[in-house]
């Protein structure tokens, strides 16, 4: 593997001007961003959704007459209205269907039942209370572990021939070989764990403004989407609208985290509302609606087993998963992989064998599963393996850092094919772990912990201390067309680069920023390749009429896929600029050398042309060689040959009050290797945010359900997000191992910290308490109960 051809991000030599301030920040800091809710059109009406109070109930009758009589109401749309248009159900991103407005039954609390269009948003909300729905409540399936009981109510009786709540069984790895390895192992440790249902809770909730022009037949929809092009194609397929008459505009997006990948009933309702009324219709959900009905994440019940020799050589890993998908299978995964990339669960270690089985079930809960920096279920996978390794360390009485160091893949093993078929591109794992231990002062921490233990046992303190590790490997940048598609759409990204005569540039991309800083990062990539200053480069995204096709921003794919496209398209421009420079300098292209945005004649550095001069010449009357067209514009479509595999070593230090169960994260050390860093500041921002996510999930976030299926996380009073007070001052470090197949060597980092950090926090708390198991979120009550040996079920109402 080579490490020299690509620029490294060791400070001083980052890609394209490195740690520059974000170009988009000027408008955000001035409060001049334009979010969907800022879009106001002449004559615009407002929609609101009536939602089910029941988790499972038959709809007997819906009486909308009183709402229709409200003086400011323009239309009331029900499932029956939609049925007439063939829109009562829509496809999900996973070959299932989902009800837009319920016709037969409601299947989760918060399910969409009716849509009111009124002159203003207040009237729309008031009118919801005038709709009279007659429900016949049914038993709800709340506990995923009981979803397949013979007497469980069948949730999806709308699907032909459906007699139970099973969605799929899926496996990866070699079960037989795995069984042999386990049979012969010295040590086998088995552990159950739950990665509970959490919610991405972006600051901006979901919404849309739909405007159907009755004359041209063109639909324009401003909407909160991370994947504008995928949405356009889906609208075309669902509603039968011609695709060239649909414009999806994703303006500034206030956070996505996967929450804004799928299509929600509200979007469809706003479109129908606009068709019915002939006016633009805005729909913007409130916080409770966002938490209760839009895409959740995780909800994986996992039982892992790890096999090893007595001296701590890991030999095998297997896991059984029960996946709670809610009422509709609404995850967004490449078609081939119903459980996403979960089978990357072998993580960062070498094994003889591995096997997983994932069984997915319907329950009476909101659909989703795509969300929250899911990395296509890599988050669950990393949590599983990193918890299992700690369980093994506990069983063997070995230091968890030592056990990891002993089993990490070695640099010379790359490219490495895992027992479940992933081909890791590059890595130097021991180097990253050593760096994290150095930054943490690992040995001193262990010494301090031992002293604290002693004081605790002597009754001098009730504060315990824990040190937790996590080493993660992600597979990101979906994905190679040969392996990956979503609903038949391949995952290659287009890109267009236009160079104006004066040498200013516009790059058009299919991905859509939700806060990741694309307007800066992509400008920096072009700047690196062409020597045009980033401020002279405009990044256009989020508008399907003005950008080439691509599948959008999620799964940490923007820089691995569209970033590569940006590099490739820039290189095309550069290649052409060489020919034009040669024509201008009256020499052969082979005689030219490139430096800092300028071609010059070899051995005669004063004799050259800058990219700006070349741009002008390309638009002017310079005589060009046979067959060479004018202008410098170029397009590219990047089909990633493989995924990229970022990795990192995390160490968390916690203090635990043994008297109350309260946990404080004292320190968090994160060493990330995402290849070269384009803008190190933006990368660190992504890591900081992900670490806060991780602390939130580990310590406080969960959506539980009571026996009737009532959502117990429907507001920010119940669904807790971490604040600055729960976050220590993050300590970040880096190693740089470029991806050998990415044009810039970069690997992606958007989800790394979310993926890697929860296990470190949980491991730290359990390390403090010297117990092997407790499930997230580790609230004081959960910690205390775990200490008493009577753990709580975090997915259900506390009993």
């Amino acid at each position: 593997m080579t490490t020299t051809e690509v620029p490294t991000s060791a400070e001083g030599n980052p890609i394209g001007f490195g740690r520059m301030h974000r170009k988009e920040d000027a408008r955000f800091l001035r409060g001049q961003g334009t979010y969907v809710d800022d879009v106001t059109l002449p004559g615009m009406l407002h929609g609101a959704i009536l939602r089910s109070p029941f988790a499972h109930a038959r709809i007997v009758n819906i009486d909308t007459s009183a709402a229709e009589a409200h003086p400011r109401v323009r239309a009331v749309i029900t499932g029956e209205t939609l049925e007439g248009l063939g829109l009562a159900w829509m496809p999900t991103l996973s070959q299932d269907t989902q009800s837009v407005l319920a016709t037969d039954k409601v299947r989760f609390q918060g399910a969409e039942v009716a849509f009111v269009v009124a002159d203003d948003r207040y009237a729309a909300r008031d009118a919801l209370e005038l709709i009279d729905v007659d429900y016949e409540p049914l038993d709800a399936v709340v506990d995923a572990k009981k979803a397949l009981d013979p007497d469980a109510p069948v949730i999806r009786d709308d699907l032909e021939g459906r007699e139970d709540n099973k969605i799929y069984d899926w496996e990866a790895g070699d079960a037989e070989h795995c069984a042999e390895v386990f049979d012969q192992a010295d040590v086998v440790v088995t552990q159950e764990m739950l990665y509970p249902r959490v919610h991405p809770a972006p600051m901006e909730t979901c919404g849309s403004v739909a405007s159907m022009d009755p004359v041209s037949g063109k639909l324009t929809i401003w909407t909160t989407t991370q994947a504008p092009h995928a949405h356009r194609t889906l609208y075309a397929l669902v509603a039968g609208l011609p695709e060239h008459k649909i414009q999806v505009i994703s303006p500034d997006i206030g956070g996505g985290f996967g929450n804004k990948v799928g299509i929600y009933p509200g979007y469809v309702c706003s479109i129908v509302g606009s068709i019915v009324t002939g006016k633009p219709v805005k729909w913007m959900e409130d916080r409770a609606e966002n938490l209760m009905s839009t895409s959740f994440a995780r909800d994986y019940h996992m039982t892992g087993s790890i096999a090893a020799t007595k001296d701590g050589t890991i030999q095998g890993l297997k896991v059984d998963v029960l996946a709670d998908h809610g009422a509709f299978n609404g995850v967004a995964q490449p078609t081939k992989f119903p459980a996403g990339f979960f089978h990357i669960f072998t993580g960062s270690y070498d094994y003889d064998a591995a096997h997983c089985n994932v069984r997915a079930v319907y329950t009476n809960k909101a659909p989703g599963g795509v969300a929250y920096a899911c990395s296509f279920r890599v988050t669950e996978a990393v949590y599983l393996v990193e918890r299992m390794v700690d369980c093994l360390a506990d069983e063997l009485g070995m230091d968890p850092a030592e056990l990891r160091m002993k089993n990490l893949l070695r640099p010379e093993q790359f490219p490495y094919t895992t027992p479940t078929g992933w081909e890791y591109d590059s890595g130097d794992y021991p180097r990253a772990l050593k760096e994290a231990m150095r930054l943490a002062g690992y040995d001193e921490l262990r010494a301090e912990q031992a002293e604290r233990r002693r004081a605790f046992e002597a009754g001098e303190t009730n504060q315990l201390m824990g040190i937790g590790l996590s080493f993660f490997t992600e597979g990101v940048g979906a994905g190679p067309r040969k392996h990956m598609d979503i609903l038949g759409l391949g995952m290659a990204d287009g890109c267009e680069l236009r160079i104006h005569p004066t040498g200013k540039a516009v790059i058009r991309l299919s991905v859509q920023s939700q806060g990741q800083g694309h307007e800066t990062t992509f400008a920096q990539i072009v700047a690196q390749e062409l020597g045009i200053p980033p401020e002279d480069i405009d990044v256009v995204h989020g508008d399907t009429d003005n950008t080439p096709f691509g599948l959008g921003t999620y799964g940490s794919r923007s820089t691995p896929v569209s970033g590569a496209a940006a590099a490739v398209v820039s290189r095309r421009v550069k290649d052409k600029s060489r020919i034009i420079a040669a024509a201008a300098l009256e020499c052969s292209p082979d005689d030219l050398e490139w430096e800092h945005g300028r071609w010059f004649v070899k051995g005669d550095p004063d004799n050259g042309k800058t990219i700006q001069e070349i741009a002008f010449a390309s638009h002017g009357n310079l005589e060009l060689p046979e067959g060479v067209e004018g202008h410098l514009d170029a397009t590219a479509v990047y089909d990633p040959p493989e995924l990229t595999y970022p990795f990192g070593a995390y160490i968390c230090v916690t203090d635990v009050d043994a008297g109350t169960g309260e946990v404080k994260v004292r320190r968090f050390i994160a060493v990330d290797d995402c290849g070269p860093r384009i803008n190190p500041m933006i990368v660190e921002g992504q890591i900081h945010g992900g670490l806060a996510d991780g602390v939130g999930m580990a310590l406080m976030e969960v959506i539980a359900f009571d026996p009737e299926g009532n959502n117990l996380g429907g507001s920010f009073m119940d669904y807790l997000l971490p604040t600055s007070m729960e976050c220590p001052s993050w300590e970040t470090g880096e190693t740089v191992t470029p991806s050998p197949h990415h044009p810039l060597g970069v690997k992606g980092v958007g989800e790394s910290a979310t993926v890697g950090s929860p296990a470190a926090v949980v491991n730290a708390v359990l390390d403090a308490l010297q117990i092997r198991s407790a499930d997230m979120p580790l609230t004081p009550a959960v910690v205390w109960r775990a200490m008493q040996g009577s753990p709580l079920r975090n997915d259900l109402a506390i009993e």
Partner: protein, 291 residues
């Protein structure tokens, strides 16, 4: 956006005016102080008042001062002012202890002590502070003023001694010597309501406990306190063993309900653990061993 139902809005110019407006609009009217309890309930349409009477303009309700042998706190004093008050820090550090863990700075800048008491939420922190200190509440109506002991103020969840056309105007706390006070709370996250909390003052006479007050929040303690534990301590020595016994009584006699903040047994445990801790801290403060 969550929006409340339609309501009328009036701005009171004086306490008498506020009371007159309450009388005029009847029991569908509600006073609004900081709005940090009332507005969230209105947005969720759990409260649907027809008229809001804003008392934020009223003067003479924002004092924290010594009045005779008591400290008097006006009903419109904001949480932030309680947190920062030097007078309270001197006499009753329990206030700053509690305020530091009530909500967040935004809420504390607007929420008032009067609103906190009148809301009557079983998880309200100031309710158990006031109960521990055995203060009193001054309530005004068109018929005049009456004073109610704080221990009789709360009459059940969300029910208080303040009648329909009445307004809470002041809270009063006796000044005591040789005392220390403290508050401790367990929350799932900064800004969250209490899983459980306890407050106490301890008045020492040498090594003996001359007087003691205990307040308990969010554990279903009758009247936010546990008189049996106070009785056990009063008149005896201030020792860890006796603190533990008193704390055990709080554990045994409170009646917490299980919810997503924690199961009943855990909340009972906290009633004990936190009572023990605040008794220690209050005593250490009374002895001048801790600030």
């Amino acid at each position: 956006m969550q929006v409340p139902d339609v309501f009328e809005y009036e701005r009171a110019s004086s306490v008498d005016d506020a009371i007159a407006l309450l009388e005029k609009h009847g029991d569908e009217a509600r006073l609004i102080a900081g709005g940090h309890s009332l507005l969230p309930m209105m947005k969720l349409r759990l409260a649907v008042p027809e008229v809001l009477i804003d008392i934020n303009d009223l003067e003479g309700l924002d004092h924290i001062r010594i009045d005779g042998d008591e400290i008097a706190i006006g009903a419109m004093v904001r949480h932030a002012a309680l947190l920062e008050s030097a007078l309270l820090a001197e006499h009753y550090p329990i206030f700053a202890d509690a305020e530091r863990v009530i909500a967040d700075p935004l809420v504390r800048n607007r929420g008032t002590i009067g609103g906190s008491f009148c809301q009557g939420d079983p998880a309200e922190d100031l309710a158990s502070v006031g109960t521990a200190l055995r203060g009193s509440a001054v309530i005004r109506s068109s018929a005049g003023e009456r004073t109610v002991p704080i221990r009789e103020f709360h009459q059940g969840p969300y029910e208080t001694a303040v009648g329909d056309a009445e307004m809470l105007v002041e809270l009063r706390f006796p000044i005591r010597t040789h005392i220390g006070s403290a508050y401790a709370k367990v929350e799932r996250r900064v800004g969250d309501w209490a899983v459980a909390a306890a407050g106490a003052f301890v008045q020492l006479d040498g090594d003996q406990i001359a007087d003691v007050g205990i307040g308990l929040t969010a554990v279903g303690a009758d009247g936010f306190t546990c008189p049996e534990a106070e009785d056990l301590l009063r008149g005896g020595p201030a020792t860890p063993e006796r603190f533990a016994d008193a704390a055990q009584l709080c554990h045994d006699l409170c009646a917490p309900v299980t919810d997503q903040r924690g199961p009943e047994d855990y909340k009972r445990h906290l009633a004990r653990e936190l009572t023990r801790r605040v008794l220690h801290r209050a005593t250490a403060r009374a002895r001048g061993e801790e600030s």
